[in-house]
């Protein structure tokens, strides 16, 4: 393919916009996997389930998908609390996280995905808000609102998460759990309670990400599978417990993936996620932005 500067520029810009979606998708995982050390491989499946619910509910009452995701997020908070309570009771307390706990999340992921197929069919679903077909142009660069609005929305959610984690008492307690659960006990704070709450927040973020996802692209029940590679790669690249690291990694990832898709064809995009994941694991398991352990 001939090299084309405006193609490259547009690839980078829409990659950055895609990065906004990836950032919000990965931020929930940065809380559960990064901070709580719970390998929730069902996170992308939750996100896709949220997208389907947004289509169903938003489509029925004619509500904007992003607004609809915000309204649905308390439901996902409760789902998250439920999943963690169950996980803690049957796996964490028994010390069975590594094999049975992982299999549990795999089962949850599987049940969600197949459940969506049964409820909605295997076809793609979409819900286009009114602005979906508007594109702003700045010089040579296209800024489709279909991408821009969810990216900004995602960043707003992450901004709120950041404030919550760094300013509120509960947020600081979550950070403390990530460091040392025993220390919290000394302060008479129950780490399980804090983890339950944090896991709920993580599921809420999956819902928000699902809302952003449905604006950007149509979803199908198996969409979650492609996101697993992406969000884990981003989380690990970002240095696990670091929210800012995950965001930076998400933008970088969006750009690399999108530029690859622009020049080599979109069917190769999933390979980028895996390639990155393997490279990161092989050479910088502490993350691109983390310090050596």
């Amino acid at each position: 393919m001939e090299f084309d500067l405006s193609l490259l520029l547009n690839g980078i810009v829409s990659g950055l916009l895609l990065g906004g979606l990836y950032a919000v998708a990965a931020s929930g995982l940065a809380v559960s996997f990064g901070m709580l050390d719970i390998v929730n491989i069902a996170h992308p499946a939750l996100m896709v389930a949220a997208a389907f619910l947004v289509v169903a509910v938003g489509g029925a009452i004619g509500l904007d998908p992003l607004l609809c995701a915000v309204l649905l997020s308390p439901v996902f908070y409760l789902i998250g609390v439920g999943i963690y309570t169950f996980y803690n009771r049957f796996f964490e307390r028994r010390g069975d996280e590594a094999l049975q706990g992982l299999a549990f999340f795999f089962g949850v992921m599987f049940i969600i995905e197949v459940g969506l197929v049964m409820a909605f069919g295997p076809e793609q679903r979409f819900l286009d808000p009114s602005y979906a077909f508007t594109t702003w142009r700045i010089g040579e660069i296209d800024l489709p609102l279909r991408m821009l609005v969810p990216a900004l929305f995602g960043l707003l959610a992450i901004g709120l998460l950041y404030l919550f984690l760094h300013r509120s008492f509960i947020g600081l307690a979550i950070a403390a759990v990530a460091q040392d659960a025993e220390a919290l006990r000394l302060l008479a704070i129950d780490p399980v309670k804090i983890k339950r709450l944090a896991f709920g927040v993580s599921a809420m973020l999956a819902c928000i990400a699902g809302g952003a996802l449905i604006v950007v692209q149509p979803v199908e029940p198996s969409s979650g599978q492609i996101f697993i590679g992406r969000v884990f790669a981003i989380c690990i690249m970002g240095g696990m417990a670091s929210l800012s690291g995950a965001i930076a990694a998400a933008f970088l990832f969006g750009v690399v993936e999108n530029v690859t898709a622009t020049f080599f064809g979109p069917s190769w995009a999933p390979a980028v996620a895996f390639g990155w994941l393997l490279l990161v694991l092989a050479f910088r398991p502490q993350g691109l932005f983390g310090r050596a352990a």
Partner: protein
């Protein structure tokens, strides 16, 4: 953690292999004769369906059950085996048996490579990598026109292969032999030094390393073996169905069953995956007639979750003293 410990570890130095092999061959013969007496071609195809899961579940168990490292990529490895068989048939005219051997080599190397890149870290990174592996391999196959791309590939099956009564009987017997060999390998691993080392790794990897167990080497051996046997489970698939496309080869059913079967039967024992595979696969084979395949899989997902929750040691855990 599981019922794997021999009741008399003093006897661990002298494991008797002959009775096992005689028993295994005896059971295989009995199954074959029973099907032959029934004389229904469908019986062979149903039998193949169950046996491929015996191989797949036993393969998963070598890494997941003994060492405690979860491989989510069973569908990827199995499909890689199936497509290797298609490729060597088209490129070199290899038939089923050499195709199986090539598949074992290719998927063994695939396992070794994935393991080499990720196993030096915490086990969960290996699991995450295998989770993405299937997606990526599927991307590669879909884009690879030589093996049919997304349209799929045909394998023209002869009506009969003498001396066998029918093609169904032939392909069934091949899978039966593969199942016996795989279960035998799994049992040999269990009672060997490799199996003991893997159990030590599962129980406490840091302590294993500190007392001189070469943990990385053992894990790599297990990943390579696990990958190779999964490829073996998949290699006959295009010969069995006559046609293979990426959706069928990378089916979710393989991914979930490979994990559910050993965990339900009892992970970390050679018999556990066999029990789990026979039970779950027969159930699914019977259920496809009456319910949709999606509901079928959904039920497997629930069974998996329920079993790891209330019976974390599987069915064999109910009988073991631990």
């Amino acid at each position: 953690m599981s019922a794997t410990t021999l009741t008399d570890p003093r006897g661990a130095d002298r494991i008797r292999h002959l009775p096992f092999w005689l028993g295994a061959v005896g059971v295989a013969l009995a199954v074959f004769l029973a099907l032959r007496l029934i004389g229904n071609e469908y019986g062979y195809y149903a039998g193949y369906f169950v046996l491929q899961y015996v191989v797949l579940a036993s393969a998963w168990n070598i890494l997941g059950g003994y060492a405690g490292y979860v491989n989510f990529g069973a569908a990827g490895f199995l499909a890689a085996g199936a497509y290797t068989a298609i490729f060597v048939r088209k490129a070199f005219g290899f038939d089923l048996i050499p195709g199986i051997l090539c598949a074992a080599v290719v998927t063994g190397l695939l396992g070794l490579g994935t393991g080499y890149l990720t196993l030096r870290l915490r086990g969960v990174y290996f699991s995450i990598a295998t989770l993405c592996l299937a997606v990526v391999l599927q991307t590669l196959v879909v884009n690879w026109d030589y093996v049919g791309g997304s349209r799929g590939a045909y394998v023209i099956r002869p009506m009969t292969i003498p001396p066998f009564a029918s093609y169904g009987e032939y392909i069934f017997l091949v899978m039966l032999a593969l199942a016996v060999i795989t279960v035998g390998i799994a049992r040999t691993v269990e009672v060997s030094r490799l199996g003991r080392g893997l159990q030590a790794i599962r129980d406490n990897e840091r302590a294993a390393e500190a007392v001189g167990v070469p943990t990385l080497r053992l894990k790599l051996m297990a990943t390579a073996l696990c990958g190779a046997l999964m490829g073996v489970a998949g290699a006959p698939l295009p010969y069995y169905s006559g046609y293979l496309n990426p959706d069928a080869a990378f089916s979710l059913a393989f991914a979930v069953n490979a994990i559910a079967m050993p965990l339900i039967g009892g992970a970390g024992t050679w018999a556990g995956p066999v029990i789990g595979a026979v039970l779950l696969a027969s159930l699914q084979q019977a259920a496809t007639v009456t319910i949709s395949s999606a509901l079928n899989l959904w039920i497997v997902g629930w069974i998996l979750v329920i079993f790891v929750t209330i019976a974390p040691r599987g069915i064999l855990g109910w009988f073991g003293k631990r």
